[in-house]
């Protein structure tokens, strides 16, 4: 008994060490950094200060946080609208259809996400394929000039994150016992009522984990806004990047990161309380 216990610990030890060094360590380092003072040219000096945090309350930074939140909420809502039906119908395909669809969803991952985003630039640019298509179909009369606009960023966000929603919904719809829907229909439910009272409830864990899986990254993704939004859309992610890489203000970047992290954590906690879904435990 004791021996197996020790064996278990020994096998787990590397993982604990890894987590400690590469996850907990950097986090602590970042929190500490956020309370330190910026050095004149580069790096930090070991003086305690709260200034990094008070600085965030300047309207320009608050606005950035609000914009990020708005974009994340909008993207997540659109992702739900697209990803839920997609995942749901994917689970209803034949075994062969599922395999093919899965492959079709995986193939884009073989290419760097950055390159895929540049693809969107080509599609969106003025007189690009999208404009030509719309004008060719006489839906629009002149180029939309979507590139470097807010809608372009939203499309990019949805595109980059929708698979997470699809897979999350798919995996819970796949596990679903469809005879429950038949039972509901048998007891007098219309297809719509059966969906609302049974299917939706049964796939809710997938939907909710999909929301978390897409909402968190969409708060922090900055390169999509940079590439497809130009300078029109500034998000917390890009702000942090700028502070770190361009302004060399490491403590402020750390403080922004800490606040962003606290914000997402708070939102998830709130969300968990509201949705009361226990299946998310593994995820969070």
């Amino acid at each position: 008994m004791k021996n197996t216990r020790r064996g278990l610990w020994l096998t787990l030890l590397p993982m604990y060490l890894f987590t400690l060094v590469f996850v907990a360590g950097p986090l602590v380092y970042m929190v500490v950094l956020s309370f330190l003072q910026r050095d004149e040219s580069w790096g930090v000096t070991a003086n305690f200060t709260l200034q990094n945090y008070t600085q965030i309350f300047q309207p320009v930074y608050l606005q950035t946080f609000a914009d990020s939140l708005g974009l994340a909420l909008l993207s997540t809502a659109l992702i739900v609208l697209v990803g839920y039906p997609f995942g749901y119908f994917m689970a209803r395909l034949s075994a062969r259809g599922k395999k093919r669809m899965m492959l079709a969803l995986m193939i884009p991952f073989w290419t760097s996400s950055l390159i895929r985003l540049y693809g969107w630039i080509i599609i969106f640019r003025a007189n690009g394929p999208l404009d030509q298509l719309l004008m060719g179909l006489h839906i629009t009369s002149e180029p939309l000039r979507l590139l470097y606009t807010y809608p372009a960023v939203v499309v990019g966000m949805v595109y980059a994150l929708v698979q997470f929603m699809i897979f999350a919904v798919y995996s819970s719809a796949e596990k679903m016992d469809w005879s429950l829907v038949e039972a509901a229909r048998d007891l007098g439910a219309s297809p719509f009522t059966a969906f609302c009272t049974v299917t939706l409830k049964m796939t809710l864990p997938g939907l909710l984990s999909g929301v978390i899986l897409t909402f968190i990254p969409s708060m922090g993704l900055f390169f999509i806004a940079d590439i497809l939004g130009g300078n029109t859309v500034v998000l917390v992610g890009s702000l942090i990047e700028d502070q770190l890489v361009k302004a060399h203000n490491t403590p402020f970047a750390a403080a922004l990161s800490v606040v962003l992290m606290l914000m997402t954590t708070a939102m998830i906690a709130f969300y968990r309380k509201v949705s009361d879904v226990k299946e998310l435990e593994g995820l969070l």
Binding site: D177, S179, L180, E182, A183, A184, R185, D186, L187, G188, A189, S190, T193, T197, V198, K201, M202
Partner: protein, 359 residues
């Protein structure tokens, strides 16, 4: 004459080009307990799903109370199903499950509550309303599924192997309870099983299904005592089947087999002398004697085994065919290897349609 509750008229159904039902006709009267009996894959579940409206037949009609419902959605039929896997809604309490259909009918909340309580009482689950399905045993889930289906007062209740997942003892008890419920409520049940004992026990009529067709529809006594085909004889009560050439035709027809002459009562027109025929005889009717001067077919005892209160003796006839005889008791003096003479009373055996001829 009352209108039949349910009629199936020449129903056929194919799945991916494979015929599953090949012309099903059935007429069910109010208050009947009809069992569809057959091996797995014979089309019994498909038949039930067509009645429920969960499948559409390729041809044929489903009539409920004289009204054609063939293309009606399942939620508009007034027929309810107890699913094989129970299909209880895991996210609802027992009471919410039972009341599901009533809530859809927009019944008054207080009415629903009293009705749900009554139903739970009916299936002997008083006080279980607040539990979740996951907290129940198999038998309890089964009862909830029945209560849920009964809640909306179906014209016909369809039960798809409802006792399949329960252990033997519980199954016996539930058989009895289902029968009691059916009689108490005066409901029409269509029940699916592959267990012939269950079918014989509970049904007012049994429809023996094979390969998408009904082989025989009749009361348990008819099906057991007068199986129409060799398949029915074998499936219901595992009869011995012997084939041979008809030697003497008549109400008692005798056929010639390699081991000697065997006689059985003919059903309907007896087959002509010289043709091939099969007879069925139940193991409990098979007599054998170690006195070799007696009349009878020649055989030898191959095996003896004791199973569940009955002694099962495997006899091999001259010519290689095997017969099973059963006796009450634990043992008998005759030993394997011993030569015997095998007989039965001609009216204890029946002539049946040959499997090859029937197919």
């Amino acid at each position: 004459m009352d209108q039949p509750v349910l009629q199936l008229q020449n129903i056929t159904k194919q799945f991916d080009g494979t015929p599953v039902l090949r012309g099903i006709d059935l007429c069910v009267n109010a208050g009947e307990f009809i069992t569809l009996l057959g091996a797995s894959g014979c089309g019994k579940t498909t038949t039930l799903r067509i009645i429920a409206g969960l499948e559409t037949p390729d041809t044929g009609k489903v009539l409920l109370g004289g009204e054609d419902v063939t293309s009606l959605a399942p939620n508009r039929r007034g027929v309810n199903t107890v699913f094989q896997n129970y299909a209880l809604f895991p996210h609802m309490t027992v009471a919410a499950n039972v009341g599901y259909g009533l809530r859809l009918q927009k019944k008054d909340k207080a009415d629903i509550r009293t009705r749900v309580e009554k139903l739970l009482e009916l299936v002997q689950l008083e006080g279980y309303g607040k539990r979740m399905p996951a907290e129940l045993s198999g038998g309890q889930k089964q009862r909830v599924a029945i209560a849920r289906a009964l809640a909306v007062q179906p014209k016909v209740l369809l039960l798809d192997e409802p006792l399949g997942a329960l252990d033997l003892q519980l199954r016996r008890q539930m058989q009895f309870e289902l029968k009691r419920l059916q009689q108490q409520l005066g409901l029409t049940f269509i029940y699916i099983t592959h267990d012939q004992e269950e079918a014989l026990n509970m049904s007012s009529r049994i429809a023996v299904m094979r390969d998408g067709r009904f082989e025989q529809i009749g009361t348990p006594a008819e099906v057991y005592d007068h199986p129409r085909t060799a398949y029915v004889a074998r499936f219901v009560g595992t009869a011995n089947i012997l084939r041979g050439t008809v030697k003497r035709s008549g109400p008692v027809t005798c056929i010639e087999t390699p081991a000697g002459c065997a006689c059985a009562a003919a059903q309907g027109t007896p087959p002509a002398a010289g043709s091939t025929a099969s007879l069925a005889v139940r193991s409990e009717q098979v007599q054998f004697s170690t006195d070799l001067s007696a009349d009878g077919m020649d055989g030898v005892i191959r095996e003896k085994n004791f199973a569940g209160g009955m002694l099962r003796i495997v006899l091999e006839l001259a010519g290689g065919q095997q017969l099973v005889a059963s006796r009450h008791g634990i043992d008998l003096p005759a030993q394997p290897g011993q030569q015997v003479k095998i007989t039965w009373q001609p009216d204890h055996a029946v002539l049946v349609q040959d499997e090859e001829a029937g197919a």
